[in-house]
């Protein structure tokens, strides 16, 4: 069996198409495992994993923790709000202290872009980026592409639309890298102020009219407006944003085909997507969450197999 080309998962930018496909094939097997009555396998029973969440998270953190536990790893959790980070400890000191307790892998979310890359240069454990600021969120992109592959059989040649706050979204950037590597066509749509100036250099096209963009796509991935990352006003009002870029039943029904709706969560119902769309059959939002556990199990399993083997 082939191996991943990397020791850490810091971003989709740093892995290749073969890595992505290997993760998908491994996730297929784990998806079967998590649908059994007993959802646990003993593969990682001698591995300890620290989940370091310096930024809030519900889905990703639960998903990682479930994935780790279903692989029988020992798990320690850490959140910045209840830790010594508040007392002024640096990132490297915090992590080194945790690693002295013999931790093999680190899953980290941090508000600074590149935090995972920085850490990987200073410590010896395998690092998985669970979101670093507005930079990358690789496991989310993997599970999104995996969900698209599950719907259509393959990702190559499909038209994927990403709508919303592209500027602040790590999900958008990681998704663009993953989808382009897998051969999909990617278009982004949103207020001009929330679309990065040189986004087309990543091989994506830009469309400012939501209706036109929806008519083009097979899948629409609706992103949340990240108010917490906005220090200035990027659009006049939320109501105006919803009118221009919100997905509702009326606009979906006006299309001449049925498209797949995705959302990485958390959903702001009534802003980027209405409740009737989010709960419709076209939406695969909960499938994405289920696939998230299988994808994270695959990533942990494949990275664990690359950990140094001379420790016995």
């Amino acid at each position: 069996m082939s191996e991943l080309s990397v020791k850490h998962l810091l971003g989709i930018k740093y892995i290749n198409k073969d890595d992505i496909n290997l993760i998908f094939e491994t996730a297929d097997h784990f998806k079967e495992v998590i649908n059994r009555s007993i959802k646990k396998v003993p593969s990682l029973r001698d591995i300890t994993i620290a989940n370091l969440f310096f930024e809030n998270s519900t889905r990703t953190r639960l998903s990682f923790e479930l994935a780790e536990k279903r692989l029988s790893a020992d798990v320690v959790n850490f959140s910045a709000s209840s830790s010594s980070v508040k007392k002024g400890e640096t990132l490297i000191d915090t992590v080194n202290n945790i690693l002295s307790m013999k931790v093999d892998m680190v899953v980290m979310r941090h508000s600074n872009p590149g935090a995972g890359i920085f850490l990987s240069k200073h410590i010896n454990a395998s690092i998985i980026n669970a979101g670093d600021g507005a930079h990358e969120h690789p496991t989310q992109a993997l599970l999104d592409s995996y969900s698209i592959r599950e719907q259509f059989g393959e990702v190559a040649g499909k038209n994927i639309l990403i709508v919303g706050d592209i500027l602040h979204s790590r999900v958008a950037l990681s998704n663009i890298f993953a989808l382009k590597k897998l051969g999909a066509n990617v278009k982004v749509c949103g207020p001009k102020t929330l679309i990065p100036k040189h986004i087309t250099s990543l091989g994506v096209t830009v469309e400012l009219n939501l209706k036109k963009a929806l008519e083009w796509c097979d899948v629409a991935n609706m992103l949340r407006v990240q108010n917490e990352r906005m220090d200035i006003s990027y659009f006049p009002t939320t109501r105006e944003y919803t009118q221009q870029f919100g997905l509702n039943k009326k606009i979906l029904d006006s299309l001449d085909k049925e498209i797949i709706i995705m959302h990485p969560g958390p959903i702001n119902r009534g802003v980027e997507i209405t409740s009737d769309v989010a709960d419709s059959k076209q939406a695969i939002i909960l499938n994405q969450v289920e696939n998230g556990v299988a994808i994270r199990m695959a990533v942990l399993y494949l990275l664990a197999s690359k950990l140094q083997k001379n420790e016995y």
């Binding site: 069996m1 082939s2 191996e3 491994t26 097997h29 079967e32 495992v33 059994r36 009555s37 007993i38 959802k39 646990k40 396998v41 003993p42 593969s43 990682l44 001698d46 692989l71 399993y301 494949l302 664990a304 197999s305 950990l307 083997k309 016995y312």
Partner: protein, 179 residues
């Protein structure tokens, strides 16, 4: 590298018929018994035994599943490269059933140890038996022995026993390969 034929197609066929008859002796009409082929190579033998039971011995409705043991192996991170998983497909209930594991070669016994753990994810079988086509004597690392064996073979460590099946390898035969 030299290779020696241990069993030819006729001898393979005779052994298969004997194994099928032994299974019928112990499991009657298979109403309480299920066959589990151990991935990747046990499934060919399991399919062949099922076919033989159905066509030559008129046993009907035999349930056959495939069990992949990759995630239960005890050599994860001890090998140079990870082992590629295969599909697990058990679409029936094994709770309180008599389970017969079917694998082509029994060597160290470690695969069967992993299979014993893996099968627990699907319920609590009444009992588990082991059918293996080739039993390599004196090579066990664990206290595991087959209940049904096609042929017992003495092979030393750098020798490999390969079981070939018509549907996968073009002909039925068992070879002893000396590296």
């Amino acid at each position: 590298m030299s290779q020696k034929v241990l069993l030819n197609a006729t001898e393979v066929n005779i052994a298969l018929h004997r194994l099928a008859c032994q299974l019928i002796e112990n499991h009657d009409n298979f109403s309480e018994t299920v066959l589990i082929g151990i991935q990747p190579r046990g499934i060919f033998l399991a399919e062949r035994i099922k076919l033989l039971l159905e066509t030559s011995y008129k046993v009907k409705n035999i349930e056959l599943g495939y069990l992949d043991i990759t995630f239960y192996r005890d050599d994860f991170r001890r090998n140079d490269k990870p082992i590629e998983p295969s599909t697990t497909n058990i679409d029936f209930i094994i709770e309180n059933k008599k389970v017969v594991f079917v694998d082509d070669v029994l060597y160290t016994g470690r695969s069967i140890r992993a299979a014993l753990t893996a099968i627990q994810s699907f319920g609590r079988p009444l009992e588990i038996e082991l059918l293996t086509f080739i039993d390599r004597r004196f090579s066990r690392h664990l206290p595991i022995q087959p209940d049904y064996r096609g042929r017992q073979v003495d092979a030393i460590n750098n020798e490999k026993v390969k079981v070939c099946w018509k549907e996968n390898d073009g002909l039925d035969a068992v070879y002893l390969i000396n590296n």
